[in-house]
């Protein structure tokens, strides 16, 4: 049951209404049932998988806190088991395929690696939540675990399928549900949800039709089309994932829960590192806290280990997205872009730069980031490495003119580029004044209610018009 489905539009208000009618003490158990029911609509065979992980993490957390064996040993066992589980479901075929290729290159006959067992939806997200929980327990950042709250944390439906990746210490305290209903939960949640629906169904899905056509295997594209396709996919994935996140945050807000933000105008990044502080921010935070910081703390940020770790960690980030070489290359490219920026930064550290040169480098790194991120999306979207190479060749090496798409594709892409370009200024202006205060200043109460009602109707109407293009959320596949 995707957030942008008619079923969810019925499920959500019913689930939220019942939630607020229940006594506070019943709400955690109710949301656990709702979460399990929601997960069943995605993958009924694996509905107990998050529960099994909750049992594992609960037992290991108890052992870590009991101190019967060094906490570090239990922590390592716990992380290894969660990763083994993730590896079995998500990377088994990729690994066997790699081994089969290695065996055939050594003269042995390759073996059959086909499998009908698909990875459970959301496994990458809740596996990371489990690892974070174990590490935070070992570091004394979360209190004594309670099994019901841990299960409710892992089954909390708004972020179960594709994040945001929430820390236990920011969600579990909220799952006590000691808040009373407030009107802004409803208004804020519905605002978020409808805007997410529009981002996904109108912007992302419209581009998806052309992007899918352009990335069909065997299709050759001109330089112009290759660039437009890369830009269009960058916009599609942004509005797809940002739309999903808006709907997740909105759904949680309806039951009084605040989830962390995941995006902050990523295409306005000033350098490749800044891009990752604006794109999928909760994944970046996870990587920073549990991989980047511990690895580099040993070397106190010394250049060579830093550069190697950036490429290695970003390759793993690519692998986390999908079991395939194009994803690994996408991640490694981002690592390489960050290394380029860090080398530049280290070289210029402590040196005097004239204002003109400073301005030049600021513009240079902004432009570099946009071009590099756009180019890297090709690897993310391509079916395989040769296809990515063919498109890169069209983008950067050979120049051919002509457009093979309907004019609407180029117009839609350019309009969404403009929307992205103006987004921070629009949002910035709106945020200068508190939303409620802003409305009170301009409109009397009946007009405010009518305006909001019309906006919601408009959003839902757009959703219905564009709901024919049933394109799956990109990140729900990870």
């Amino acid at each position: 049951m995707a957030f942008n489905s008619y079923t969810y539009l019925v499920f959500l208000p019913v689930a939220v209404y019942v939630f607020w009618q229940l006594p506070k003490s019943w709400r955690p158990a109710y949301l656990l049932i709702v979460g399990a029911a929601y997960y069943t609509t995605w993958t009924s065979s694996f509905v107990i998988l998050p529960l099994s992980l909750a049992v594992l993490v609960y037992v290991l957390s108890q052992l870590i806190l009991a101190g019967s064996k060094p906490a570090r040993a239990w922590l390592r066992i716990g992380i290894a088991l969660v990763l083994l589980n993730l590896g079995f479901f998500k990377y088994r075929v990729f690994l066997l395929d790699f081994l089969s290729l290695a065996a055939s290159s050594l003269g042995s006959s390759p073996f059959d690696v086909t499998s009908s067992l698909a990875a459970p939806v959301g496994i990458s997200f809740y596996s990371f939540a489990c690892i974070a929980y174990l590490i935070d327990t070992a570091q004394g950042r979360v209190g004594k675990p309670s099994f019901p709250s841990l299960s409710a944390f892992l089954y909390f439906w708004p972020n179960l399928i594709a994040g945001p990746i929430v820390r236990a210490r920011e969600l579990i305290p909220q799952l006590r549900f000691d808040k009373k209903f407030e009107f802004h939960f409803l208004v804020g949640g519905v605002d978020r949800f409808i805007w997410g629906l529009v981002q996904k169904n109108v912007f992302a899905n419209s581009l998806a039709v052309w992007v899918d056509e352009g990335f069909q295997p065997g299709r050759t594209v001109s330089t112009l089309d290759a660039w437009f396709l890369a830009v269009a996919f960058g916009l599609q994935i942004y509005f797809d994932f940002s739309g999903y996140t808006y709907m997740a945050i909105g759904s949680a807000q309806l039951v009084g829960i605040k989830l962390p933000e995941n995006f902050r105008f990523p295409y306005h990044a000033s350098n490749p590192s800044d891009f990752w502080s604006r794109w999928h921010m909760t994944l970046t935070r996870w990587i920073r806290d549990y991989l980047f910081f511990p690895v580099n703390a040993r070397f106190r940020g010394a250049p060579v280990p830093l550069y190697l770790s950036l490429i290695g960690i970003m390759s793993l980030v690519g692998l986390w997205h999908g079991a395939g070489w194009p994803f690994i290359i996408w991640g490694a490219l981002h690592g390489l872009f960050m290394v380029c920026f860090r080398v530049f930064e280290t070289y210029h550290q402590g040196r005097e730069i004239c204002p003109a040169a400073q301005k030049f480098w600021t513009i240079f790194w902004r432009a570099f980031t946009l071009v590099a991120v756009t180019g890297a999306w090709v690897a993310f979207r391509a079916h395989d490495v040769p296809q990515a190479c063919t498109i890169w060749k069209s983008m950067f090496l050979t120049f051919s003119s002509g457009g093979g798409f309907a004019p609407r594709f180029y117009m839609a892409t350019l309009l969404l580029v403009l929307l992205c370009a103006g987004e921070p200024y629009l949002v910035g202006r709106l945020q200068k004044v508190d939303a409620a205060q802003r409305e009170r200043q301009f409109l009397p109460l009946p007009a405010r209610i009518t305006t909001r009602f019309l906006l919601y109707c408009g959003g839902l109407l757009l959703f219905m018009i564009f709901s024919q293009r049933g394109v799956q959320f990109i990140y729900s596949q990870f």
Partner: protein, 61 residues
């Protein structure tokens, strides 16, 4: 800037700047800071930096 102002969560500095700061603090204070159980958020404000360094440092003088 006040002692309780956020540094990392407000995007003023990144985790690499924290690592460089740890190296400088160790050099200037003559201490060794155990980073095994630390996260960047432990350095989010000046107040937290003082508390974290006090908790995690072992004198090497």
């Amino acid at each position: 800037m006040r002692d309780e102002d956020a540094l990392i969560s407000a995007g003023l500095i990144d985790s690499l700047a924290i690592l460089r700061m740890i190296a400088q603090l160790e050099q200037q204070l003559g201490t060794s800071i155990a980073t095994d159980s630390l996260q960047p958020d432990d350095f989010d404000t000046i107040e937290l930096i003082v508390e974290t360094v006090g908790r995690a440092s072992k004198s090497s003088r």
